[in-house]
């Protein structure tokens, strides 16, 4: 349900038709638990261009997951507007939403693959949902598994795969329906550094090959540095800083960005403590 003040729509009309692919304005979400309210998103404004790899950083509890989950409406926003291309996501009916979700892929920290299905069957899942024909599914699965370099694991079950391989299956599954957008919620946080790098390389690769827009949530500075073009810093439900990665981390303004850099620099300069701490 999209409820927004006239103030916002006027603002929209003036400023937000500048050709941004994804436009989020005044997004608010409050969780109600018993009699207490937790305002988690307190009016998010964000514009993301087509083909960008956009990073969102913030400390635990800042609302990153909630924000990304609002984009495919796994979480229903209380207020505000999300527009992708010409489509206002927040105004879609349930049926329209199901169809639209097929165009927004998402990958998760814990992969969320189906244990009952082989790699190929997992990738086929979104195609089955979309009502594709059997022969089309087979050829698409083959194609996409080649893209993520898993052609030799087609008939493996997730239980037989390493974390990195599981995330590749997750990516393949997210890409199966040719989405315009890929959402990534801490997709590398459960992986070791080397595997993280290979998954990031894959994301970079598909961003270029498929002209895919990627929104990536992380609390690892290195991930942002490695693949993001633009970014936003989320602090306690508000965007406190946004722009190119270079500009934000070149001259950090927000507490969160400064702390991120201090911790990053700190760990590097602490030297070897041999378990003594600092």
């Amino acid at each position: 349900m999209a409820r927004y003040s006239t103030h916002t729509t006027e603002f929209e009309a003036k400023h937000c038709d500048a050709g941004h692919f994804i436009r989020i304005s005044n997004l608010r979400k409050t969780f109600r638990a018993r009699d207490k309210n937790f305002a988690v998103l307190k009016g998010i404004d964000l514009e993301i261009d087509r083909g960008d790899i956009f990073g969102v950083v913030g400390f635990s509890g800042a609302g990153k997951s909630t924000l990304i989950r609002c984009i495919n409406r796994l979480e229903e926003p209380d207020e505000g507007e999300i527009t992708i291309g010409e489509t206002e996501i927040t105004g879609l009916s349930k049926q329209e939403l199901d169809r639209y979700r097929q165009k927004i892929g998402i990958i998760f920290q814990h992969f969320n693959l189906l244990d009952a299905r082989t790699v190929a069957e997992n990738v086929a899942f979104p195609l089955e949902i979309a009502g594709e024909r059997k022969d089309r599914i087979a050829s698409r699965v083959k194609e996409i598994l080649e893209l993520v370099d898993l052609s030799d694991k087609t008939d493996f079950y997730p239980g037989q795969l390493s974390g990195g391989q599981k995330q590749r299956v997750g990516i393949a599954r997210a890409l199966a329906n040719n989405p315009d957008i890929l959402l990534s919620d801490e997709a590398t946080s459960a992986l070791d550094p080397q595997t993280t790098l290979s998954v990031l390389d894959l994301l970079k690769d598909i961003n270029e090959k498929l002209k895919l827009t990627i929104i990536l949530i992380t609390h690892e500075l290195n991930v942002i540095r490695y693949i993001c073009k633009n970014m936003a810093v989320l602090e306690d439900g508000l965007i406190v800083e946004k722009g190119s990665v270079r500009s934000v981390f070149g001259a950090p303004q927000s507490e969160t960005a400064k702390l991120f850099l201090r911790i990053d620099a700190g760990f590097a300069t602490f030297g070897w403590q041999d378990g003594e701490g600092i």
């Binding site: 495919n72 796994l74 939403l97 199901d98 169809r99 639209y100 979700r101 097929q102 927004i104 998402i106 998760f108 814990h110 969320n112 693959l113 189906l114 244990d115 009952a116 299905r117 899942f125 979104p126 089955e128 949902i129 979309a130 079950y157 997730p158 239980g159 037989q160 599954r173 329906n177």
Partner: protein, 234 residues
Amino acid sequence: MGRITLLETIESAFSAKTWAIVVPAIYDTLYMVLFTTILTVFFGLILGIVLVTTDKDGIYPRPRFNAVAGGIVNGFRSLPSMIVIILTLPLSRLILGKSYGPKACIIALAVTCIPMFGRLVESSILEVSKGKIEAARSMGAKNRDIVLKVLLPEALPSLIRSFTISVIAIISTTALAGTLGAGGLGDVAVRFGYSRFKTDILLAAVLVMIVIVQAIQFAGNTLSKFILKRRHLI
């Protein structure tokens, strides 16, 4: 009559005379168990799915309906099977025209067993992680897809274990119903073994029931393990 030794009792338990009584009872029991199981699985599965999906945190939240359905299930579950069977016998008369014999008993048995299997199905399905459901949702899956393509297949090994437990419960409830006019092994064990002190027949009936239960438990465990192994989850 004189004293009968244990050895004589055991010998007599395996005699043709005893088995002439026990074998027809085995057929009756298997007949009742088979059809009760079919009814229980069908309706219990539906009940379990309804209980999970209509929960306030389920994929089709209907909290008030869920509370009522859950209350009814609890009501049935809190009554001893014997009472439920006695209460359900008039229902059998209504449907089948009689309230005794194996056929009539199947309905009474199913009524006692469906709520139990429904709860077991519910807990099996609840083991499926929320993340998997969410992933399916994010791909535009409808509730029907989530039930048929995510919840049931993912929960299958656990569902098979729930099924095994239920079949065994059905067997013991069938034995109980047997004493209430349904026939079968329970009836034979009580009528001959207990009331007429035919220990040999009691022994034979009990042995058969033990063998059936062991066989079903073994089959259930094996199948469940086979699936888990194939999925490389154990």
